[in-house]
C-alpha cells in the first residue's frame, strides 16, 4: 500500500488550525486597515567628491559612473511619483553631471543628458545653465565633446535667439576642437553672417578655403559660392539683418 507523503488536515490539532486562521485574519485585517503608502518627492542631494567616489568604485570607476548616471537619470521618476525636470535643482544636477564626468571623462552620456534632456525644459535660465555646463566641460576635452557644445550653440541661437552666446560657443569649437567636423568648425562663419558682420565672415571663410582643411569638392564649391555671395553683399550694402530675420 502506498503511503501518502502528507497526513490529512484532520491530523492537525484544532488549536493549531485556530491559531493559523486567527493570525492570518489578524495580519490581513491589520494590513488592510493601514493607509496606502504615499509617494514623496525627495530632494536631490549633493554628489560626493570625485576622489571619494574613485576610491569607493573599488577599481571600477566606469561602472560606478554609469550607475550614478542611471541614478541621476531615474531621479525624476522616484517610486510612485514623477518630478518634472523643471523642478529639479539645476546647480545640483550640474554638480552630479560634473562628478560623473570627473570619474569617467571618456563617457559622453552626462553631456548628452545636459544638452538633450535637462536643457530642453521651457525655462531659458535653466537652458543657459545647462549649456554653460557643457561649455565648461568642453574646455577639458574639446576634441571629444565639441558635438554637445555645437548642439547648445544651435539651441541657444534658434530657441533663445541669443546669437552672441551661440557665436562664442561656435568660436570655441573652431579654436579649440581641431578634430571637430567641418560643419561645426564653419558654424561661426554663418553666425557672423547672421549678425551682419559680413567682412569678418568673408575673411574667415576665405581663410578656411585657403587653409586646405576642406577637401570635399562639393563642399569647396558650396563654400566658394557662399564666399562670392558674401563679397557681393559686402560691396552692395552695409551690414544688414540676419538670415534668421527673414520669414
Amino acid at each position: 500500500m502506498k503511503i501518502s507523503l502528507e497526513r490529512p488536515v484532520a491530523a492537525v490539532p484544532r488549536w493549531v488550525l485556530a491559531l493559523l486562521a486567527a493570525a492570518l485574519s489578524l495580519q490581513v485585517t491589520w494590513q488592510a486597515l493601514q493607509p496606502r503608502p504615499t509617494a514623496r518627492a525627495e530632494a536631490l542631494g549633493a554628489p560626493p567628491e570625485p576622489a571619494v567616489l574613485r576610491t569607493a568604485a573599488l577599481g571600477e570607476p566606469i561602472g560606478l559612473a554609469q550607475l550614478l548616471t542611471l541614478y541621476l537619470q531615474a531621479f525624476d521618476n522616484q517610486p510612485g511619483i514623477s518630478i518634472p525636470f523643471l523642478e529639479l535643482d539645476y546647480p545640483r544636477v550640474a554638480a552630479w553631471l560634473g562628478t560623473i564626468l570627473a570619474i569617467d571623462p571618456v563617457g559622453q552620456y552626462p553631456l548628452l543628458m545636459a544638452s538633450q534632456i535637462y536643457a530642453q525644459v521651457p525655462d531659458p535660465a535653466k537652458q543657459r545653465e545647462m549649456c554653460e555646463f557643457v561649455r565648461r566641460e568642453f574646455e577639458h576635452e574639446p576634441d571629444r565633446r565639441w558635438r554637445w557644445l555645437a548642439h547648445c550653440a544651435v539651441m541657444i541661437k534658434h530657441r533663445l535667439g541669443d546669437t552672441r552666446v551661440a557665436l562664442a560657443y561656435a568660436d570655441a569649437i573652431t579654436e579649440r576642437a581641431r578634430n571637430a567636423s567641418n560643419w561645426a568648425r564653419q558654424m561661426r562663419i554663418f553666425m557672423l553672417e547672421d549678425l551682419g558682420e559680413l567682412e569678418a565672415a568673408t575673411v574667415l571663410l576665405g581663410g578656411l578655403l585657403e587653409s586646405g582643411e576642406v577637401t570635399e569638392p562639393k563642399e569647396i564649391y558650396f563654400l566658394t559660392e557662399r564666399l562670392g555671395q558674401l563679397k557681393s553683399a559686402g560691396k552692395s550694402s552695409p551690414a544688414t539683418g540676419s538670415r534668421q530675420a527673414k520669414p
Binding site: L20, G80, I81, S82
Partner: protein
C-alpha cells in the same frame, strides 16, 4: 513555558554555541567595524555619519543572513542525523518540537541583535540605539520564524534558503513596488497592469513591509517615534505567530 519546550529551546541555544556561532558573529562584527572605520577615513565630511550608516546597514543584512542560516542548518541537521526521528519517537507533541526550536531561535536572534548593536553605542544616542536594537531583534525574529517554516516545508537547504532570500528582498522592496504599481508612468488601464497591481496589493496584505523596520535614519538623523517602534514590534509578533502556526500545520501533516 512547558518544560519540554524549554528543554528543546535550551538545546537549540547550546547547539548554536557549540557550532561557533558567537565567533562567527564576532568576526562579522569586527570585519564590518573595520570596514566602517575605513569608510570614515575616506569620507571628506560627515565621517561619523558615514561610519555609522555603513556599519548599521551592513550589519543588518549580515545579521539576517547569519540568523537565517543558523535555523536552516540546524533543522536540516536534525533531519539528516535522524535526531528528529528520535524526538518524534518520544511522548512529545509535534507542536512542542516546533515551539521549542522557535523559542531557541528567537533567543539566538535576540542575542545576535544585541551583540551587533553594541558597537553603535559609541555613535548613537541611547534611545535611538534601543529602538534600532529592538527593531533588529524583531526583524530577526521574523527571519528565523520564516526560515523555520521554509525548512520544515521544503525539507531541503537550497530551496529553503532561496525562498528566505527572495522573501526578504521582496519584503524590503514591497512598499516601493506598491507605489510604482499604483502610479505607473504609462499603461495604467491595461489588463496586465491591473493584474500586477492586484497581485502586489495581495502580497502587501500577507507580507510585512520590512523597509519600515530597523532604519539607519533612526541612528543618524532623528530617532523614531516610540509608537512606530511598538507598531513594528506588534506586527512582528503577529507575523511570528502566523509563521509558527503555518510551520506547525505543515509539520503535523508530514509523514516521516
Amino acid at each position: 513555558m512547558d518544560s519540554r519546550i524549554a528543554t528543546i529551546a535550551r538545546y537549540t541555544l547550546l547547539e548554536a554555541l557549540r557550532t561557533r556561532l558567537p565567533v562567527l558573529v564576532l568576526a562579522t562584527l569586527l570585519a564590518l567595524l573595520a570596514a566602517s572605520f575605513f569608510v570614515e577615513t575616506i569620507a571628506v565630511t560627515e565621517g561619523a555619519r558615514f561610519q555609522t550608516s555603513f556599519y548599521a546597514a551592513g550589519v543588518r543584512v549580515a545579521a539576517v543572513f547569519i540568523a537565517a542560516m543558523v535555523v536552516l542548518v540546524s533543522v536540516t541537521r536534525d533531519f539528516d542525523d535522524k535526531g528528529l526521528d528520535v524526538v518524534l519517537a518520544l511522548d512529545l507533541p509535534r507542536s512542542h518540537y516546533v515551539l521549542g526550536k522557535l523559542a531557541g531561535f528567537l533567543g539566538i536572534a535576540t542575542l545576535i541583535a544585541v551583540a551587533v548593536a553594541a558597537p553603535l553605542a559609541w555613535s548613537a544616542t541611547a534611545p535611538a540605539l534601543l529602538q534600532w536594537t529592538i527593531s533588529l531583534a524583531v526583524e530577526l525574529a521574523i527571519v528565523v520564524a520564516l526560515a523555520l517554516f521554509c525548512v520544515v516545508t521544503f525539507n531541503q537547504l537550497t530551496p529553503a534558503a532561496s525562498f528566505v532570500l527572495a522573501f526578504y528582498l521582496l519584503a524590503r522592496s514591497l512598499t516601493a513596488i506598491q507605489l510604482m504599481s499604483a502610479q505607473p508612468l504609462s499603461g495604467m488601464d491595461t489588463l496586465s497592469h491591473q493584474v500586477i497591481r492586484f497581485v502586489v496589493d495581495a502580497l502587501a496584505l500577507v507580507m510585512p513591509a520590512l523597509d519600515a523596520w530597523t532604519q539607519t535614519a533612526w541612528l543618524v538623523n532623528q530617532q523614531a517615534a516610540w509608537s512606530a517602534v511598538f507598531q513594528v514590534a506588534a506586527l512582528s509578533a503577529l507575523y511570528v505567530a502566523l509563521l509558527a502556526a503555518a510551520t506547525m500545520f505543515d509539520f503535523y501533516r508530514k509523514n516521516f
